[in-house]
Symmetry: C2
Subunit: 259 residues, 2 copies
């Protein structure tokens, strides 16, 4: 994929920061020395971690140079490093590994999630939030339009970029035997969007990226027009003229036993 | 129905207080003068309100004398009044009407919810949380067992006690035109339960009550045994021997425009 667009991603920052905040609220630590923000993006989640654990050494990790530059601008005093979550190994065992809206881009959760958990210090916490929206109309429509001419050939199997999540019970099973406690839940947000076009804008900065990247300008425009037409149908206007974008997210918080 | 059992209800107090806490966290008020806890139960939610708004006059309302007695014991300095939400009218327009796990027992939400909203002071907030679990296996199994002999006749239409919720978009529609902002969402908790029997215990203090109340001791015992047998089948043991009870709850937070 092309690099991320921090400005477009930040346009819905309040809505994107809320799950990060709610994930952090469930982390059962009163203090921490080493904290890692895996897939830190433009640093909005890192900022929450710095505020919650002002004494800790917080490190943000991301694959995107553009996102890291944006994060360094936001938090000049914090360490940001380019790295790939799939192979990342910390130099010091962290008290908190925090991965907000990141692991859905990384494959092999059955090995990845237990591996991340095993990297924690005793008593440490692994906190994960991932969008779980592949079965939502927004995402079914992406795949439907991408399966039609003239977009089908250039787009190919765009959907394969994103990892198929395990069930929520599956994540519990991966962690529960080794953990002191595992807390898993879903929240389905209903984002208030003024128009069908704003729903498309939201998705353009994340879920639509693998679909749009392979298209030339003309095909991209026609794809977005057709997609928006169908979005307008399945996300109807509410009583005040807005539309509600249902957005399910999965949360996992697991704590290691003290040594 | 018979009166509530505060001790049984409180047995899972941490799990029951979490949604109350998360509802309150989304109330966009920095201060309040008059706060009402509709359906306050044993006062666990009222305690959260008192802590959040220490300057406010907080009043708890409930139909149950047993619950009110339990609440008064917990919070001797707080006003608790017996009252029916369906017809309740405040003497002073509240800044916050907070109804945690209460309105699912009250009918006619299309008139009730806008009515409660209209009772608020300008800038005031209506905050509602309701279990939305009627389509969960736990509740489908209740109805299934209650439809069979020998329980069918004494139980009758126990399910009618509880109100059929509107859709989440439906609640948004009821409030959005009159409100400064409406925030609606679901959270599906996954409660970690040691045994199938503990899942049944959880439900005995709330959802099962209308099913159990009409039964004599013998029929109640046989109903619970059959119900637990089926619960054990659909809520399987996880990797650590526990079972996960999925519990969806709907949240609504609507703020009136300033005057």
């Amino acid at each position: 994929m092309a690099d991320w667009n921090p400005a477009l991603y930040r346009r819905f920052e309040d809505e994107r920061t809320r799950p990060a905040d709610e994930l952090l609220a469930r982390v059962p630590l009163t203090s921490a020395t080493h904290v890692v923000d895996l897939g830190c993006g433009p640093g909005n989640s890192t900022e929450l971690l710095v505020r919650r654990f002002p004494q800790a050494q917080v490190t943000g990790i991301d694959t995107s140079a553009a996102m890291l530059a944006s994060a360094r601008e936001r938090l000049p005093g914090t360490a940001f490093e380019q790295g790939d979550i799939a192979t990342w190994v910390p130099t010091v065992a962290p008290d908190l590994i925090y991965a907000n809206a990141a692991l859905q881009w990384v494959a092999w959760h059955e090995t990845l999630v237990p591996r991340l958990f095993s990297l924690l210090a005793p008593g440490g916490v692994l906190a994960i939030q991932m969008p779980d929206n592949r079965q939502e109309p927004s995402h079914r429509l992406m795949r439907a339009v991408a399966g039609e001419a003239p977009w089908r050939e250039p787009i190919g199997d765009a959907d394969a970029v994103r990892t198929e999540l395990a069930t929520i019970g599956g994540y519990y099973d991966m962690l529960a035997r080794e953990a002191a406690q595992v807390d898993v839940w879903h929240t389905v947000y209903q984002h208030v969007m003024p128009t069908a076009g704003s729903i498309v804008d939201w998705l353009r900065s994340t879920g639509l990226r693998p679909f749009l990247d392979p298209l030339n300008e003309e095909l991209r425009a026609s794809f977005l027009a057709e997609y928006e037409r169908r979005i307008a149908e399945v996300y109807p206007e509410r009583s005040d003229g807005n539309r509600l974008l249902a957005f399910p997210r999965m949360f996992i918080v697991a704590q290691r036993r003290p040594s």
